[in-house]
Symmetry: none
Subunit: 124 residues, 2 copies
DNA sequence: CAGCTACGTAAGATTATCTTACCACTCGGT
DNA sequence: ACCGAGTGGTAAGATAATCTTACGTAGCTG
């Protein structure tokens, strides 16, 4: 895999993680003390991110750098990065909302079991 | 921790990993198709490494990017036991279902989070 | 429609990186 | 001691990337 490919994957992961975090480019830009167009270009793959920037992205999205880097599964953290994002979202819900969600999840899980698709994240 | 600190840590880790791999700067430079002074500057912390470069370093040193980044092993340890329970449920979902749920959660949060830093996007 | 937010993109100013070159240091062999 | 090869640090001009500001579009709301 070429380095350009890696950068493009990272760009896509950043965009995905930002969206799943419910943050706008402008909010991210402010958090990272960057200009909004910079975020736009990064996500478009037109601008590279430094390693330090990658870590900052991982911080504000609360995911591992390995996830943003699209590293192979056997090297990354035990928990699914998407779960990290999910947990972050969950922590913002009220207890009541969380309980409701838990019940809803039970239904989801039942549907899922019948199709039997085992976990993991989709790697490229 | 500032971003400069992160970059310096990464620089030190790269230097350490290279030495432990028994490679010279020249060898690394050749493998990564860089010039030797570039490696020298990177290890000195005078030159930043892009995210893609970081992954290439991790490859040739056979270490994880998390190691080069000095990342702590498990990032997600919610104190709330309810979150742990929820995370267990989430882990049983298919990736698609999880994605759908995440988008739904983002909408939820937007509804009861409307007041926070939503404004002030564009420049002065 | 008017106003707002989000996002993409262009262009000149600014800054970082690249490339070549030169320097000092170390180590074995002669 | 001298030499040659190997390693690593650094300087300087040319080159390339990024930053910063500004403008344009699209969606959504009252």
């Amino acid at each position: 895999m070429s380095e350009l490919d890696k950068e493009l994957i990272i760009a896509a992961r950043i965009k995905e993680a930002r969206r799943l975090s419910g943050l706008s480019q402008g909010q991210v830009a402010k958090m990272l003390e960057m200009h909004r167009p910079t975020i736009s270009e990064i996500e478009a793959g037109n601008r590279r991110v430094s390693a330090g920037e990658l870590m900052r992205f991982a911080e504000i999205f609360d995911v591992s750098v390995a996830y943003l880097a699209g590293e192979s599964p056997d090297k990354i953290n035990p928990s699914d990065p998407k779960l990290q994002l999910a947990a972050r979202e969950l922590s913002k819900l009220s207890p009541d909302a969380l309980n409701s969600l838990m019940r809803a999840l039970a239904v989801f899980r039942k549907d899922d079991d019948e199709n039997s698709s085992g976990g993991g994240n989709e790697q490229t």
